[in-house]
């Protein structure tokens, strides 16, 4: 493929259509004439690009402020933009770049971050939301020229590029997705940007280390960082670029005219631009994220105590609390697993049929009065709050009792099975006003501690062993059903494996009798913060599991949609596979092809192959994912699918036209086929356009967002 390309590139195809339509460059006259025939008119390309861009912007910005309500997931991402403007810390399962950009767009366009974004359907009133929508629409509009240029570069055929552009311009799904404050247009912008830069860089391969080569290579790296920084789905485009780069390097290695030193330079350049540069940018994004968000907010509880001490307004910020744990103290206990919650209890009982009908004990991610527990001696029930009694510290190996402050029930376990993890024991709140039984006794131990050592608040990692059964208090990480308010299950595990699930630390510690000391030692390094936030995000992502009986969208439903364009795309994929296999077999059988057919087969195998790989990488992984999937996850794959449609139909029509011998008929067939496809696309748009401009927004008046999400999907159907 590498050998074919310089010849084709030298044949007069201009490398940067945006820069001008000149067919300059030396090459055999015959080839040049063909190029001219195929691309009628020199200024056709910039004109086509301008037309495509114009149409794209027009379709995306048409009726942008409509509806003046919060639509669908705007309730999340708009809210997160506001958080950036207000600098309050929050937690989200996606990396920060997309939301930071939304926040920035809002800030620049004069939005003050005060709109609450409570639920879909709320009116924006006087708040300035158009800036944020406009930003997303701008990025969404860029997708079309990007796709146009990519296809043009791969197929060197104007009709193919135009066909792709028309599909994307007139696809109502793409339009809708670009019109609201969502992460998807931002993600797709970077994704398509990366693909375009990669393709551009490939076509500069005949003059490595030139300025334009460096430019496109670096830009690829920047776009990769951007894609990764918006959503983890960006990883797939990183994979695509990575595979492409490996193939590239492999070709270079096989080129014996290249010395090993030169090869080393090639390798180094790619490591620099495609690994180090994106990593630096990605890290920088998080640095900005953590610098901007320095106030305590709704996301605190997801992070460890050490992290929270960084946030202004958090109760751990500039903390001063008693250092050693004492009897009679009021404490909160935090599970040490990533995104582990606080030990929590409330008045509600376990429902009938689920263990003993006693008070629920759960792990809860948010700060709450119900997270407070009092440490008591197991045998003594004196009132420790009496100021005259001496302070007694808790030591490693002591047997204690934990009393829930609000309900005065003791932390209790017994040999009933836990609600979800059936092989563990149930943990409950038991007893009245602190009087329970011997199943309320827990031995407290510090990891790596010795008998008699004092227990440090925040810093000691503590294990609570149930004295009667020998099991260890832990959080399984599973979400309880509705009766447990979807909090996290707490169990007593009989398997004595040392995992963060069964370790806790004391976070708040209130004891008026003890002197407070300041704890500045907690400050985590940036690397630790980065690692922790990633662990929390990954946990959050895998925690988004579909619940029983919930109607979820399945990946195999996605390509089948009721729109003409999507059917066209689906059919094309099958058609392409057929064409690719027959071309490959023909070549392998050693059939002699004319140069024109060789060019066509190169487009099918190389250009089409790259795009198909992109489609596969952005679609297949969803089959393996256990999390909740939505229809909009298919859109990155749909971009690739549309590009493939352009390339495939163009090649097919050219091939058909060649088979028909008279020139005139051939041209008629080609032109007719192309026109039919474009008309089909426009007709589909005409049928479906009310969906993207008219009736979509205000319907989402439903409080819960997943349901609103479903409705958004349902709106495609008739």
């Amino acid at each position: 493929m590498r050998r074919a390309r310089p010849a084709a590139a030298g044949g007069g195809a201009p490398r940067m259509p945006a820069a001008g339509g000149g067919q300059a460059g030396p090459g055999p006259l015959r080839r040049r004439r063909r190029e001219i025939r195929r691309l009628p008119g020199g200024p056709a390309r910039p004109a086509a690009l301008a037309l495509v861009t114009l149409l794209s912007f027009a379709s995306r910005f048409h009726r942008l402020p409509e509806p003046p309500h919060v639509c669908w997931d705007e309730t999340h991402f708009g809210k997160m933009g506001s958080y950036y403007i207000n600098r309050t810390f929050f937690f989200d399962v996606h990396p920060p770049l997309g939301k930071m950009l939304i926040g920035l767009a809002g800030y620049l366009s004069g939005y003050d971050g005060t709109f609450p974004f409570q639920k879909p359907g709320d009116r924006y009133e006087q708040h300035n939301y158009v800036g944020m929508r406009g930003f997303c629409a701008f990025l969404g509009s860029c997708l079309v020229p990007f796709a146009y240029l990519t296809v043009l570069e791969l197929s060197r055929s104007l009709p193919a590029a135009l066909l792709t552009a028309f599909i994307l311009i007139f696809d109502t799904g793409c339009i809708t997705l670009s019109q609201y404050i969502l992460l998807d247009p931002i993600l797709m912008f970077f994704l398509m940007g990366a693909v375009l830069c990669m393709v551009k860089c490939n076509s500069c391969a005949d003059r490595p280390f030139s300025a334009s080569w460096w430019f496109w290579l670096c830009l690829t790296g920047v776009n990769l960082a951007g894609a990764m920084g918006v959503k983890f789905v960006g990883l797939f485009v990183v994979l695509l670029v990575g595979l492409n780069t490996i193939c590239d390097l492999w070709d270079l290695l096989g080129d014996l005219s290249l010395s090993l030193v030169m090869f080393g330079k090639h390798l180094l350049a790619r490591v620099l631009c495609l690994i180090l540069l994106p990593l630096t940018l990605y890290t920088a994004m998080f640095a900005v994220h953590f610098t901007v968000l320095n106030k305590s907010g709704p996301g605190d509880g997801f992070f460890s105590s050490a992290f929270q001490s960084q946030l202004i307004g958090n109760n751990l910020h500039n903390v001063s609390i008693p250092e050693y744990l004492a009897y009679g103290s009021v404490v909160t206990m935090k599970n040490l697993r990533m995104a582990g919650g606080y030990l929590h209890s409330h008045w509600h009982l376990y429902p009938e049929g689920i263990g003993a009908r006693q008070q629920q004990v759960t792990a809860y991610l948010h700060k709450d009065l119900n997270n407070l527990w009092i440490i008591k001696k197991h045998d003594l029930d004196t009132d420790l709050s009496d100021p005259s009694s001496p302070v007694e510290f808790v030591r490693h190996g002591d047997i204690i009792r934990l009393e829930h402050k609000e309900t005065c029930r003791n932390l209790h376990s017994h040999q009933h099975e836990a609600p979800l993890t059936r092989k563990h024991f149930q943990v409950t709140g038991y007893g009245i006003n602190g009087t329970g039984d011997s199943n309320d006794f827990w031995r407290i131990e510090v990891v790596g501690g010795k008998a008699g050592k004092l227990i440090k608040v925040l810093r000691s990692q503590v294990r609570l062993t149930h004295v009667a059964t020998g099991c260890i208090l832990g959080s399984s990480g599973k979400t309880l059903p509705k009766w447990g308010w979807e909090q996290v299950e707490v169990t007593c595990t009989p398997y004595l494996k040392e995992t963060p699930n069964s370790l806790w630390n004391f976070e708040d510690h209130i004891n008026p009798k003890l002197p407070n000391i300041s704890l500045d030692v907690l400050k985590p390094s940036f690397a630790e913060i980065l690692l922790e936030s990633h662990m929390v995000m990954i946990r959050g992502n895998s925690g988004l599991k579909p619940k029983d009986n919930e109607v979820t969208s399945k990946p195999w439903h996605w390509p089948i949609n009721y729109q003409v364009i999507w059917w066209l795309n689906l059919v094309t994929i099958g058609l392409y596979l057929l064409m690719a296999v027959s071309t490959a077999v023909t070549l392998k059988r050693g059939v002699q092809l004319t140069s024109e057919l060789k060019e066509l087969s190169r487009v099918v195998l190389c250009g089409g192959g790259q795009i198909t790989l992109g489609w596969l990488l952005h679609y297949l992984p969803f089959f393996l994912m256990g999390r909740v999937l939505y229809f909009h996850h298919y859109f990155p794959a749909m971009l690739f699918s549309s590009m493939l449609t352009g390339i495939t139909w163009d090649t097919l029509l050219k091939f058909c036209a060649r088979v028909l011998s008279p020139r005139i008929t051939a041209r008629k067939v080609y032109g007719g086929g192309f026109l039919a496809l474009v008309l089909l696309i426009i007709y589909s748009f005409y049928l479906f356009h009310p969906l993207s401009y008219g009736m979509i927004g205000p319907m989402a008046s439903d409080p819960s967002s997943p349901m609103a999400g479903l409705r958004w999907m349902d709106s495609w159907e008739f």
């Binding site: 429902p351 009986n549 059988r589 349902d714």
Partner: protein, 719 residues
């Protein structure tokens, strides 16, 4: 090979000597003292229950895999005259006299023993020396974990046997390809590849990965043939068709036949009935079939029916109502309609009966002749005992506030009119005029006023004062465009109502249904359903004391205690030969590093080893490293409880790689080192053989000495 045909005596004698010796040693190591211990060992407790069910011909569903492996185990029981009467409830329980332990364990042990000669032949077919082949066979022979796993009623050794057989037959086939295609033995080995693959898949789904690997290799080899200009197009197509037949069509047919035999053998209803659809249950002898036998087929106006939710998860349940009403206010302060509760109830009950009524007529009996209900008809559903109408309205449901509440309408609230018309939509209809059929039709009920669809939801517990146990919420789902089984219902019990009077009708509802029509499902319908259930049935992900993660396996950080003698310290562990595991890892790393090195050098046109040797090296690696990878890496994305024994198929491939790498390096290695290394393998085998075979019993001190890694869990009896 042709020489082999001309001169059978001389040539075969030599090969046989090696093979016979290895086979005998394999048999001795696997079969020695097979009936010891005379007690249930580890997962025998799991597979044993299925063997018993086979003996009693009772239907079951096992989500761990397809039925062929279970059937082989059951074959052992059948040959040994097992009657299926044993309570498989506890590991370590003594077998009673009626359990033919020896014959139950014989097939897995034989399969394990035959892996030894198979390994030998695979290396020979990969064109490595007989010395290397002998080494591979001996390593398999002395691998403690493979021995342990083979000696009990477990499936891994059978799986490994079929995997190795498939690989060997493919290699034999491929080597024959050069001289004599379309010959008898060519066909034999090609077909055997397909058969062995389907058997491997039939034993455990893990076999699928090796099957895919072999398909990929066959595809690659065929791709090379396409490039061969000497072959005509016609012969290429013949080759392609032959491979398609043997490697795809025959395995699929075999796989179907496993299920055919399985379903033919198990014709009685049993404990797993309820996960299947009503139609499936009715096809089994006893159980639901006894109840539904003789029901009228077509649902008519006036029919008395019970409606079962098709999803069957988290439990099977029937549409139900009872005299209790929804509380005026829920605990969280939301209001309700205060009408009669409608739920989905997981037990058979007289309150599950409903009557199909024509909205235009008053009568609740079937007219003569019956007027059948068709797709698209509008009906009312009348609760049999309370004669209230199934109703839904724009009130939030008890647990799912975004859905509509479903109730039985009580006429005391003027502000809330009755909205009790439902349109019947048959989901699996063939035409739009299909009749609603008992058991067979899957039906959605679409509310006429609001277009909500009747749906069974999650558990609900909190407002049922009368009923104990769990019941499921029933709601009217407004966002109903997507298809989900929880919105689909089928009629299970059915009879034509005869009594107009309420008193008589109550008596009628309590009486059993009867009449006579039989319903038979086709094999393919049964197969599809069973296969789907096996794939989607999820057991609660269980944590097990000996479960491990895939990463622990490479270094063998875990073991599994299989059995402990009730009194002495004799015990059996799944514990590998440490030296073999370590050297297998080293071999894999060396292989990959060397390959990468050679590959890069070859790319720069520097050829370190001759072309033939390189080809052998690559194909050996393709099989061994490929086999290891496909049998190991998928576990990283699997969400199920993993055990050390899942690694054994991968390990087998990795072990085969050791002699390959050794032979490659042999120029640089003195033979003394090889001997020393091999004797260490043997020594470790001997050291751990007490916990492999479970005898002799070791003292506490000796047991403690065996604990080479702290993470191993050797059981030490407290004095």
């Amino acid at each position: 090979m042709l020489g082999f045909l001309k001169n059978p005596v001389v040539v075969t004698a030599e090969i046989n000597m090696n093979l016979v010796a290895l086979t005998v040693m394999g048999l001795i190591s696997r079969l020695w003292g097979l009936s010891y211990p005379q007690a249930v060992v580890f997962d025998e407790v799991y597979y044993g229950q299925f063997v018993s069910l086979y003996m009693k011909r009772i239907f079951f569903v096992d989500d761990s895999g397809p039925p062929f492996g279970h059937m082989l185990l059951a074959l052992g029981g059948y040959l040994g005259g097992f009657d299926g009467n044993f309570l498989w409830n506890r590991i370590g329980a003594e077998y009673s006299a009626n359990v033919p332990v020896q014959s139950l364990r014989l097939l897995p042990a034989l399969a394990g023993a035959l892996c030894v000669p198979l390994a030998y032949q695979i290396l020979v077919e990969l064109q490595f020396s007989h010395c290397a082949a002998l080494g591979a066979a001996l390593l398999i022979l002395l691998e403690n974990s493979l021995i342990t796993q083979s000696r009990f009623m477990l499936l891994e050794s059978i799986l490994i046997f079929f995997i190795l057989l498939a690989v060997l037959s493919y290699l034999k086939f491929y080597n024959l390809q050069r001289h004599s295609f379309f010959s008898g033995s060519w066909w034999f080995w090609l077909l055997l590849t397909g058969v062995a693959c389907s058997c491997a898949v039939g034993v455990k789904y893990m076999g699928l990965f090796t099957y895919i690997l072999l398909l990929a290799i066959a595809g690659l080899h065929f791709w090379q043939m396409i490039g061969d200009q000497n072959l005509s197009n016609v012969s290429l197509i013949c080759h392609f068709l032959a491979r398609g037949l043997a490697l795809i069509i025959i395995p699929v047919a075999m796989y179907l036949s496993f299920f055919y035999v399985h379903l033919t053998l198990l014709y009685r209803s049993g404990p797993h009935d309820q996960i299947m659809t009503s139609a499936f249950q009715a096809s089994l002898e006893g159980g639901l079939a006894r109840i539904t036998q003789g029901q009228p087929l077509e649902v008519a106006y006036g029919s008395q029916i019970t409606l079962r939710n098709v999803l069957g998860k988290p439990m099977q349940c029937w549409l139900h109502s009872h005299t209790n009403t929804y509380p005026i206010r829920y605990e969280n302060g939301r209001g309700s309609s205060h009408q009669q509760q409608v739920t989905c109830y997981p037990f058979k009950d007289v309150n599950n009966w409903w009557i199909v009524k024509d909205p235009g007529m008053q009568q609740l009996v079937v007219s003569n002749p019956p007027r059948p209900v068709r797709h698209g008809h509008i009906v009312q559903l009348v609760h049999g005992i309370t004669t209230r109408y199934l109703n839904t309205h724009d009130v939030a449901a008890p647990l799912s506030p975004h859905s509509q509440e479903v109730s039985c309408y009580i006429d005391y609230n003027i502000s809330m009119p009755a909205q009790n018309l439902w349109r019947v939509e048959i989901v699996n209809r063939e035409s739009d005029t299909d009749v609603w059929k008992t058991i067979l039709s899957e039906v959605r009920f679409v509310h006429v006023n609001t277009s909500a669809v009747l749906k069974a939801g999650g558990f609900m517990n909190f407002h049922l004062e009368v009923q104990t146990g769990r019941t499921l919420e029933v709601v009217g789902e407004k966002l109903s465009k997507g298809y989900h089984q929880s919105m689909v219902w089928n009629v299970e019990e059915h009879r034509y109502g005869k009594s107009q009077e309420q008193k008589e009708r109550e008596v009628e509802l309590h009486s059993p249904t009867q009449m006579d029509i039989s319903k038979n499902l086709s094999f393919m319908a049964k197969f599809t359903e069973l296969q789907w259930k096996i794939l989607t049935l999820k057991n609660e992900d269980t944590e097990h004391k000996y479960s491990s993660s895939a990463l622990d396996w490479i270094t063998m950080d875990t073991n599994i205690a299989y059995w402990l003698h009730p009194t002495s310290g004799a015990q059996i562990h799944l514990l590998g030969n440490v030296v073999t595991w370590a050297s297998a890892n080293v071999a894999a790393v060396v292989y990959m590093c060397l390959s990468l090195w050679y590959l890069i050098r070859r790319r720069r046109r520097i050829y370190d080893i001759p072309e033939g040797k390189w080809q052998r090296w690559v194909s050996a690696g393709g099989i061994c490293v490929g086999g290891w990878a496909v049998n190991y890496l998928p576990f990283f994305v699997m969400e199920k409880t993993l055990f050390l024994y899942h690694y054994l198929p991968a390990l087998t491939f990795q072990i085969l790689l050791i002699p390959i790498v050794l032979q490659h390096l042999s120029d640089h290695l003195c033979s003394a080192l090889t001997v020393a290394w091999f004797s260490s393998v043997y020594l470790v085998y001997c050291t751990f053989s007490p916990v492999t075979y479970g005898k002799p019993s070791l003292s506490v001190a000796e047991l403690k000495q065996l604990r080479w890694k702290d993470s191993w869990n050797i059981l030490i009896r407290k004095q």
